[in-house]
């Protein structure tokens, strides 16, 4: 008996350990392959450089257009997924009947799992041509198209986590509010939403980190021009799309190759920071509601 327990213990311990090893391994590779570029280009020159011409002679490795491309697409996506996601979470939690709830919740979780290539394909063949026509643009593949697709894509994530946060708000808060003579709207805006506020922020940040890291969709719908965007209605190229598009063509160990890894490294830090912020906020949230750590 005891022996069996020990086997399980070691089995699970090694599995847990393995995932840690992978994470550390990935980090080491990112650093090892990414850092050499900074011997050629200074860190700030890399981050702030306005030109990304990796295959020219001499090459330019400035990722500012890519960073701005990522931010434009992600920022635009936020404007779509926050109202949609939080709004639908409020609907499910506050207004939907029990029956609607049992249908809607799993449906949204399924939507969150739809592969990004599906969104990308839909965006490319339906949304982009439609936007091009409707807005009279020279091309349909723009930052806005990317924002729209990413926003729709991140909505289920934002909705699902926000809904969890709302359902964590103890019923007793609601009763206390009604008992002092508040109506439904006041209870919602003055008690429920503020109590779930940090949970909702966590949802938004996680949705954002999904949008920043998304590759397939943006590659297919944003047009891929590595220039600094001036409006949302022009083609852009994000950091992820750059890596995905160019990694196959680059020579192993070349400057271009190292530069792509360095972009990966920076992305890694951006998503890490998002996730740490989300974790900190959600920890504060649990303390605030007295749910312990």
């Amino acid at each position: 008996m005891i022996k069996k327990e020990k086997i399980y213990k070691y089995l699970f311990a090694s599995l847990a350990f393995a995932s840690l090893v992978f994470l550390v391994g990935i980090t080491i590779v990112l650093f090892k392959e990414g850092l050499p570029i900074f011997k050629e280009v200074g860190f700030f020159e890399f981050l702030g450089g306005k030109y990304w011409y990796p295959t020219y002679e001499p090459a330019d490795f400035g990722i500012l257009p890519l960073v701005l491309g990522s931010f434009a697409v992600t920022g635009g996506a936020l404007f779509i997924c926050v109202p949609l996601g939080v709004g639908s979470a409020l609907y499910i939690n506050e207004i939907a009947s029990q029956r609607q709830k049992t249908i809607l919740k799993p449906l949204i979780e399924i939507l969150a799992g739809v592969p990004s290539i599906v969104y990308g394909f839909f965006g490319m063949v339906v949304v982009a041509p439609f936007l091009q026509k409707a807005l009279g643009l020279p091309v349909g593949q723009t930052a806005f198209t990317g924002s729209l697709m990413l926003g729709i894509m991140a909505t289920p994530t934002v909705c699902s986590i926000s809904e969890d946060a709302l359902s964590f708000v103890p019923k007793s808060f609601r009763y206390a509010s009604f008992a002092t003579g508040a109506n439904r709207w006041q209870t919602l805006t003055k008690v429920i939403i503020p109590s779930a506020g940090s949970g909702i922020s966590t949802a938004i940040i996680l949705g954002m980190s999904r949008a920043v890291g998304e590759t397939m969709t943006v590659l297919m719908v944003t047009g891929g021009a590595a220039v600094i965007p001036h409006t949302l209605f022009q083609p852009v190229r994000t950091m992820t799309a750059t890596i995905a598009a160019e990694m196959g063509e680059t020579v192993l160990g070349s400057s271009h190759y190292h530069a792509l890894f360095a972009i990966g490294l920076i992305l890694f830090f951006i998503t890490l920071v998002f996730n740490i912020i989300a974790e900190l906020i959600s920890r504060r949230f649990r303390i605030k509601l007295g749910l312990g750590r």
Binding site: Q98, S172, F173, Y175, S177, A179, T180, G181, V191, S195
Partner: protein, 253 residues
């Protein structure tokens, strides 16, 4: 109409779905008195007092029959604004449930949702309510700290202050001490005795000594029936029904 009656319960039945929780309950709650509701758990005590401020309406699939009058007016009449009823009848719950807001904002909440904007008035009202709830001295230097940092007993008195701030006529308390230690319980009991000068109080309690200590009237319920309702002394010394006697002497429950 008897001027000393604040709440009049007439032939009330209540159902959760098909399950009956109260049958044929009629009773008068007297003005400026403390009325205790006792009985074994599940007998419908909470259900009854939630009827007084129409909180049962928040539970889906429920049905209420009969009338409940507050100062002679049927609170279940379609002309009545439920928000107004809840403003007139404050409630304190079994588990202290302050909002995750500051102490000040907890008490100010009822004022704000009732449309009061005058800052000076709100400040004075918050202070007065905290004083009435006998917690002012303990919190006056930390009004803007989060209320969840208070002890259980303090939180419960804060909830009383929150209920008092909107100047209700009736205060409903559902086992307000069941989650508290003896010292805090003692404080709340003293407070309740003091509050009856201005308010009509209905208190559900599981603790018979508590009912005997503070209540003027006591109602004993069993399985949704009002078994006996009388002056507290009478209930505890010369109950007219055998079941009441069995219950208060601790033979069951």
């Amino acid at each position: 109409m008897d001027n000393n009656i604040r709440i009049e319960v007439k032939d009330v039945n209540f159902y959760y779905g098909k399950k009956s929780a109260l049958q044929n309950v009629s009773m008068d709650i007297k003005k400026n008195k403390i009325t205790a509701i006792i009985g074994p758990s599940g007998c419908g005590k909470s259900t009854l007092i939630r009827l007084f401020n129409r909180m049962n309406e928040l539970i889906p699939n429920t049905k209420m029959e009969g009338t409940i009058n507050l100062d002679g007016e049927n609170i279940y009449s379609s002309k009545i604004d439920v928000v107004e009823v809840r403003r007139q009848i404050g409630m304190v719950f079994q588990k202290p449930n302050p909002f995750p807001k500051s102490i000040f904002e907890n008490v100010a909440y009822g004022l704000r949702v009732n449309g009061i904007k005058d800052k000076k008035y709100i400040r004075e009202k918050v202070e007065k309510s905290l004083k009435n709830a006998a917690i002012w001295e303990e919190v006056k230097n930390r009004l803007f700290d989060n209320a969840l940092g208070l002890s259980g007993g303090q939180q419960q008195r804060l909830c009383i202050a929150r209920a008092l701030a909107v100047e209700p006529e009736v205060l409903l308390m559902d086992e307000p001490c069941s989650a508290l230690d003896p010292t805090s319980t003692r404080k709340i009991e003293e407070l309740v005795l003091d509050l009856k000068k201005k308010y009509t109080i209905v208190i559900v309690t599981h603790n018979m000594q508590q009912a005997a200590r503070i209540a003027d009237y006591t109602a004993f319920f069993m399985m949704g029936d009002l078994i006996e309702y009388d002056i507290t002394d009478k209930i505890f010394t010369k109950p007219s029904k055998k079941v009441t006697e069995d219950y208060i002497t601790g033979r069951f429950g």
